[in-house]
């Protein structure tokens, strides 16, 4: 026996909606529960890689239909929190041929007159997308007058779960780099604060949306090991490994990182030759100057001075090598 084609069959049943959620007898004609079976005959949806859709909890459903003249706009929504307020919009004219197919990407409505396609952070993929196949829209047109809307009611017009492809967590869509802020020097309490030529923050973004072929390179003191069989990359640190020890150079955390005013290191610390570490090769936390015969050492605390007086004190006569 000859059978109707797939779309013909669907025009006479709820599919692609779950049976009982559309064309509900006695439903308010301006709600999606009253959507005629003939209006939508097929659909499919792809949820992007970064969503929190849980098939056991969330659904994709027809949120509302807006009629303007002979044009119908079908707004689909997803109940996953990450996709709240982000619609898939399909537009059809009453005169369109039955079984017209349209693909759409998610949009965020900015206001009544404009909308913006909602893309992932790197702008390379929509947060969700889908296709819609409509049938004969005259039955729908009989329910919604020009300028009216068909609005959603709880549980109505839910899409069959098998028509939703949830790509959540399916791949790495991009790599982004950031660095924790470095430990930065401060002046002693009784001095003026260091002046940094950039805004201080806890995390500095180095680069975003790295796509395509990406390599890892061992920089200073880094050991990189790759195991192709297990797809594993080991990252370790060892002094002098990779590009060797960095010496005195510092690596900027982000483009344009500069030392604070009056300093020469990125962390603002004093360099080795900026502080007196030893006098005549003698170092230590406390340095002792001891006076012997002929010399008097006096501390002048008020002026931060040490007065060395060569006063010949305790000496009888000067030293004479010939005597």
């Amino acid at each position: 026996m000859a059978r109707a084609d797939f779309y013909n069959e669907n025009a006479n049943r709820a599919y692609p909606f779950i049976a009982g959620t559309v064309a509900v007898p006695g439903a308010n004609p301006l709600t999606t529960a009253a959507l005629p079976n003939s209006a939508i005959v097929d659909a499919g949806f792809v949820l992007g890689v970064q969503n929190d859709f849980d098939a056991a909890v969330h659904t994709v459903y027809l949120h509302h239909i807006v009629r303007s003249g002979d044009t119908f706009s079908f707004y689909f929504a997803c109940s996953a929190p990450s996709l709240d307020g982000i619609y898939l919009v399909f537009t059809r004219s009453l005169s369109d041929a039955p079984y017209s197919v349209e693909h759409s990407e998610a949009v965020v409505e900015q206001n009544s007159e404009s909308s913006e396609t909602s893309m992932s952070q790197c702008g390379d993929e929509p947060v969700w997308s889908g296709y819609l196949v409509t049938g004969d829209l005259h039955e729908l047109a009989a329910l919604i007058a020009d300028g009216q809307q068909m609005i959603s009611v709880a549980g109505a017009a839910r899409i069959e779960p098998a028509l939703i492809y949830n790509a959540a967590a399916s791949w790495v869509s991009s790599l982004n780099l950031a660095n924790d802020d470095r430990t930065r020097a401060t002046n002693p309490a009784d001095c003026l604060e260091l002046i940094w030529p950039f805004a201080r923050r806890d995390l500095h973004i180095n680069s975003t949306c790295l796509l395509g072929d990406i390599r890892l390179a061992a920089g200073h003191n880094i050991i990189l090991r790759q195991d192709n069989d297990s797809g594993t990359i080991y990252i370790g640190a060892s002094y002098g490994a990779g590009s060797g020890a960095p010496g005195n150079s510092q690596i900027p955390l982000f483009a344009g990182e500069q030392p604070p005013v009056g300093r020469y290191t990125l962390d603002g610390a004093l360099r080795c030759n900026d502080v007196i570490r030893s006098i005549n090769g003698i170092g230590g936390r406390h340095f002792e100057i001891k006076a012997g015969p002929g010399v008097t050492v006096t501390a002048d605390h008020a002026n931060h001075r040490i007065v060395l007086a060569f006063d010949m004190k305790q000496l009888a006569v000067c030293y004479d090598e010939q005597s």
Partner: protein
């Protein structure tokens, strides 16, 4: 008189068929049989899955049923688990990393039929439980699907790599000529540097750390002039008593363990001696 429904609903139409299994699937392993209508629909898209997805194993314990779905090469590619006491209407299929891998559409009462199988492991082959092609989306396991950390965490989507204290991450993009693209293809290199934290003590001590006041210069003052002396490359300052032309200066400076000893040479007074 029995009436024929001309346009049965989607699920109702499938309940008396092998769908979502392939027409060629026997649905029995000789011991256990998956009845037509136990599942009404399916959509399967595990990463690494091919066209040969099938139910490979049904593991029934005292309180749960786990249905493994896999390929011939990898039997346990993904699975769906449900309670024997309260089977749901929809089974969420996830892979070993807990990533979504599809759905099995059924009804609570239909899934309850697994209770009659008894506890144990029931295995099936491809010929017995192969899914219909339209229910399977082959997702090749190519590209970087996720970054798995040593603790098992899998990161996907827009992944951030953050250099912690003492580690710096940077990137550069170069054009790299290839056989198929002589003009050069952009290749990004991420460089990892472990440079340490020169101010680690300040970092470790936090608010308890007090910035020391370092001596940075020595200023020598006499009646006529002032000389400011900074340390050399290694932070050292040398104090000498005279220039090198004076062979026998009276004033002497010598180093001690803790500093300098400054004195003049000569005969001491009788009382001092």
């Amino acid at each position: 008189m029995a009436q024929r429904i001309l346009f049965p609903e989607w699920r109702a139409e499938n309940e008396a068929t092998k769908y979502p299994f392939a027409q060629c699937a026997s649905l029995t392993n000789g011991s256990k049989t998956i009845l037509e209508g136990m599942f009404l629909d399916a959509s399967l898209y595990p990463i690494g899955g091919g066209y040969d997805l099938h139910i490979s194993e049904v593991v029934i314990t005292n309180d749960a049923v786990r249905i493994y779905i896999g390929t011939v090469a990898q039997k346990q590619l993904c699975s769906a688990t449900f309670s024997r006491l309260a089977p749901p209407d929809l089974l969420k299929v996830v892979d070993s990393a807990n990533r979504p891998a599809g759905v099995l559409v059924s009804e609570s009462s239909r899934l309850g039929l697994f209770n009659g199988w008894g506890t144990g492991v029931h295995q099936f082959t491809l010929k017995q439980t192969m899914f219909a092609a339209s229910c399977v989306v082959p997702i090749p396991d190519t590209g970087v699907r996720g970054i798995r950390l040593a603790d098992g965490t899998v990161l996907t989507g827009e992944v951030w790599l953050v250099g912690g204290k003492g580690v710096t991450l940077s990137s550069r993009t170069d054009l790299e000529a290839r056989r198929d693209n002589p003009q050069g293809k952009p290749v990004t290199t991420i460089t990892i540097d472990a440079v340490g934290d020169p101010l680690f003590r300040r970092c470790a001590c936090g608010d308890l750390f007090e910035t020391p006041s370092f001596v940075q210069t020595l200023t020598f003052v006499d009646k006529n002039q002032t000389v400011v002396v900074s340390p050399g490359d290694y932070g050292n300052i040398r104090i000498a008593v005279n220039n090198d032309l004076a062979q026998h200066p009276v004033l002497r400076i010598s180093a001690t363990d803790k500093g300098l000893y400054v004195h003049a040479v000569g005969t001491l007074l009788q009382s001092v001696r």
